[in-house]
């Protein structure tokens, strides 16, 4: 299933749960989206954190050795504690939640074709041909 109104989108596939009372399922699920985006943000911070700082660079060590200590604030901690970062995380989570709410409502219409789906799962053409 996909939301066609979006230009740049990530798709998820809608399927039927085996038990009819469980309704529909999504692959990947909402929790996977949340975890993937969380990981993505952490990786972005990690990349910036891994850039060598001038004061810890080997070529420059001879000039500033003993003059400057690397005890200053860390990039990652600055970003993690910042309001913007928290807000962006919150916005992403809210966006995923609202999109899934929307597609869950849309997917309800597919519940009507569960009989067709189940028939398709159990139907065997060979059996049908042998019986007839």
């Amino acid at each position: 299933m996909q939301n066609t109104s979006k230009k740049y989108s990530i798709t998820t596939v809608v399927g039927f749960e085996p038990a009819p009372e469980d309704g529909m399922n999504f692959t990947p699920a909402k929790s996977e989206f949340v975890s993937q985006f969380d990981k993505l943000l952490n990786d972005m911070q990690q990349v910036t954190e891994e850039v060598v700082r001038v004061i810890s660079h080997q070529d420059f060590h001879q000039y500033i050795h003993g003059l400057i200590t690397d005890s200053g604030p860390r990039f990652k901690s600055i970003v993690e504690e910042s309001y913007d970062n928290k807000q962006i995380k919150k916005d992403i989570d809210e966006k995923i939640a609202s999109d899934f709410q929307l597609i869950e409502q849309s997917a309800k219409s597919c519940e009507n074709v569960r009989d067709v789906y189940e028939f398709d799962q159990t139907f065997s053409f060979e059996d049908f041909k042998s019986t007839n």
Binding site: I10, T12, Q36, V47, H57
Partner: protein
């Protein structure tokens, strides 16, 4: 006997007191009459004098009306004069200037009567008559004097406003308002000057302002800006649909690219810019040694140079030495 003698004495005393009361009453009658006569005669004389004054068609020097006019010194005198006599006097109007006061005093209702030529009138002057006070701005810049009446107040309105102003300015807040305002202005200016001085002192010591550091600083800023522009994620504007695995993989690829970009830029900063800066600073450190060597050669080369040129070179050297000293 003693009692009878006492009664006689009392009677004598009573008679004496009665006589004294009669004499006092006569004296009081006399004084009252005298006073009444004096007052009446004075009033008559004054009335006669006023009548005489009112009869005058013009003011001649030395006459009582001239003395009366000379006695009108301030705006209040003029207003009380017109309030008392109205239009019945030969003096029909009086011109006034504002009273000259130090700038710290704001007294807009204090006027000084000008009984001379109109040339002594200021750009802004007042004409007081029995009808009221007219404030006039005269434009004396032009050859012909154009006058524009700007405001008219009746005498009672002027007095009311003047009294209100005096009452208000006697209050502590309004009394010291101008001084306080000027003081605050002065204080603000002093603070701003101190701030400017501190800023200049700081600017002199800032690393960005030193000539040796400046090119490297600009280059490093440019490189940092490039790093800032390169983002660690990529979202294209074109319409595209992703599976989540593909999206994550694409982001990873872009992130790796950004990482190598950051590393290259940092290497550029350290290997090229900072190293060359350190080299330049080290070179400037050796200037003092060269200077010492040059001093030993003095005498030969300088013979061919003019004193002005020598002085200029000396100033330049001192400047370079100061900068070199500050760089360290």
């Amino acid at each position: 006997m003693e009692a009878a003698y006492g009664e006689e004495m009392n009677e004598y005393d009573d008679e004496e007191q009665d006589e004294e009361h009669e004499e006092d009453a006569n004296e009081e009658d006399l004084e009252y009459d005298d006073f009444r006569n004096i007052i009446e005669s004075n009033e008559d004389a004054e009335n006669n004098q006023l009548t005489e004054l009112r009869k005058a068609n013009f003011i001649r020097r030395g006459t009582p009306i001239w003395h009366l006019q000379k006695g009108l010194k301030t705006g209040e005198h003029a207003i009380s004069f017109f309030a008392k006599h109205g239009n019945n006097m030969p003096i029909k109007f009086l011109n006034c200037n504002r009273k000259k006061l130090p700038p710290s005093l704001f007294r807009p209702y204090d006027l000084v009567v000008v009984d001379e030529d109109e040339d002594v009138l200021d750009m802004e002057y007042f004409t007081i008559s029995a009808q009221g006070v007219v404030q006039i701005y005269a434009d004396k810049r032009k050859n012909k004097m154009t006058v524009t009446p700007t405001e008219f107040l009746t005498l009672s309105e002027w007095m009311q406003q003047s009294t209100m102003f005096n009452v208000l300015t006697s209050m502590k807040f309004f009394k010291h308002y101008l001084i306080g305002k000027v003081f605050n202005l002065w204080k603000g200016n002093v603070r701003y000057r101190m701030f400017n001085k501190t800023r200049q002192d700081l600017a002199k010591g800032l690393i960005q302002t030193r000539p040796d550091f400046l090119p490297s600083y600009m280059d490093i800023n440019r490189i940092l800006y490039e790093m800032q522009c390169r983002q660690t994620f990529s979202v294209q504007r074109a319409t595209r649909q992703f599976e989540i695995e593909d999206f994550i993989a694409e982001q990873k690829t872009h992130r790796e690219g950004s990482k190598s970009h950051y590393s290259d830029r940092v290497e550029d900063i350290i290997n090229n810019k900072l190293s060359s800066l350190v080299g330049a600073i080290c070179e400037s450190r050796t200037l003092r040694e060269e200077e010492d060597l040059e001093n030993t050669k003095m005498g030969q080369a300088q013979k061919n140079k003019s004193m002005v040129l020598q002085k200029k070179e000396e100033e330049l050297k001192n400047r370079v030495m100061r900068l070199a000293h500050r760089n360290h």
